[in-house]
């Protein structure tokens, strides 16, 4: 009995040494994902996700407290990329409901105060003091900051117009 106990103890001691060394030798730092995620986000700090800027959103994504569909400007493509990066399932159902929108300036009301284009995170609004402002479709993310700040409510968000260029087939009725 003594022999059994002693030999088992010795074996365990040796294994413990090996494991101890192995744990030290193969130690891996947990990967730094937050900055990588932040790099994937648009970086326009538009705040549509409800977080203070893209950095906050990236931190929330990394710790799993925010859904991958949080970024409306990024759209389903970003959501899918984020889901892949984070190894979670992307539920794009919520995404589809969010129609892409774009800011428009009602020229008859605009007083040319330049507040909106100072606010715009992507410099999508062009114009100058006392001039009518116009929106560059390609750059507008539909974040709505301009609409919030416009003193005359001349800026509003409208759904992105469908053209032959961006029209696409809807999914067939489910069979």
């Amino acid at each position: 009995m003594l022999i059994a106990v002693t030999s088992l103890t010795l074996i365990a001691g040796c294994l413990g040494l090996i494991l101890g060394f192995a744990a030290r030798r193969f130690h891996v730092e947990p990967p730094e994902t937050v900055s990588e995620i932040e790099a994937m986000l648009p970086g326009s700090q538009c705040g549509q996700c409800g977080f203070p800027g893209c950095g906050g959103a990236a931190a929330a994504l990394a710790e799993g407290s925010a859904p991958v569909t949080l970024c409306p400007p990024g759209g389903p493509a970003l959501a899918r990329a984020l889901a892949e990066k984070l190894g979670v399932a992307a539920d794009l159902g919520a995404m589809a409901e969010h129609e892409p929108t774009i800011a428009t300036v009602r020229e008859e009301i605009c007083i040319g105060c330049t507040k909106c284009f100072k606010e715009c995170p992507t410099d999508a609004i062009q114009g100058a003091m006392k001039q009518i402002h116009s929106v560059m479709k390609e750059a507008c993310t539909g974040c709505g900051k301009c609409a919030d700040i416009c003193p005359t409510e001349a800026v509003s968000l409208v759904p992105l117009p469908t053209t032959l260029g961006n029209w696409r087939w809807r999914a067939p009725a489910c069979a």
Partner: protein
């Protein structure tokens, strides 16, 4: 006990890790050794009680005054190990119980076969099997009294050729849908009787206290 801070300092060191594992294993193996000692006798008793109980099922209660569970010798029959328990009354062998096994439909079937000095079957019980429930498991006395049909049989009753299931031209019932299991049991009982006829002199000549 060492203080909390010392522990925090020691824990990441390799010798500490190794010795913790060693200590655990030492305590565990020691505990197991003690437990093994403590339970050895009760377990042996329980096993013996089991054997006695199964022997009692195939031996008339008044046919022995020794402990057949302890009066054991091992032999074999065509490769199958057979354990022979001898029942004696006043030192005179009155019967034997052969504990053996045979190959059934789904693995081994363990059997005990009691045989009297007149070479008649005193009783047959199946001690373990893994036959199909509902079909082959009718060899259990709890499920069917089929094994009782062996009681009183003799190698010449029925004649040797009739020691088989009905399907094979014998006298023993098979169960609907399962032939292999009863066939194996019948053959095993028959083998036991043959073995007894040829070997019992030798078994009885071995004197046991």
């Amino acid at each position: 006990m060492i203080g909390h801070q010392t522990l925090e300092r020691l824990r990441p060191t390799i010798p500490f890790q190794a010795s913790m594992l060693a200590l655990t294993v030492m305590l565990a193996s020691a505990a197991l050794s003690v437990a093994d000692r403590a339970t050895r006798q009760p377990i042996a008793d329980a096993v013996a009680r089991d054997t006695r109980a199964s022997l009692a099922q195939v031996l008339p209660p008044d046919s022995f005054d020794n402990d057949p569970a302890a009066d054991v010798l091992d032999t074999s029959d065509g490769g199958m190990p057979v354990t022979v328990h001898v029942a004696r009354k006043s030192g005179v062998p009155t019967a034997v119980v052969l504990a053996t096994s045979t190959r059934g439909y789904a693995g081994e079937i363990g059997l005990v076969v009691g045989i009297s000095r007149e070479q008649r079957v005193l009783g047959v019980r199946v001690t373990r099997h893994s036959e199909t429930p509902g079909l082959g498991d009718k060899i259990e006395i709890a499920k069917s009294d089929w094994v009782a049909s062996f009681a009183g049989r003799h190698l010449s009753d029925p004649e040797t050729a009739k020691w088989a299931v009905r399907k094979d031209g014998g006298v023993f019932d098979q169960f609907a849908g399962a032939t292999i299991t009863p066939r194996a049991v019948v053959a095993a009982v028959k083998r036991c009787l043959v073995l007894y006829r040829s070997e019992h002199e030798q078994w009885f000549s071995v004197r046991k206290p």
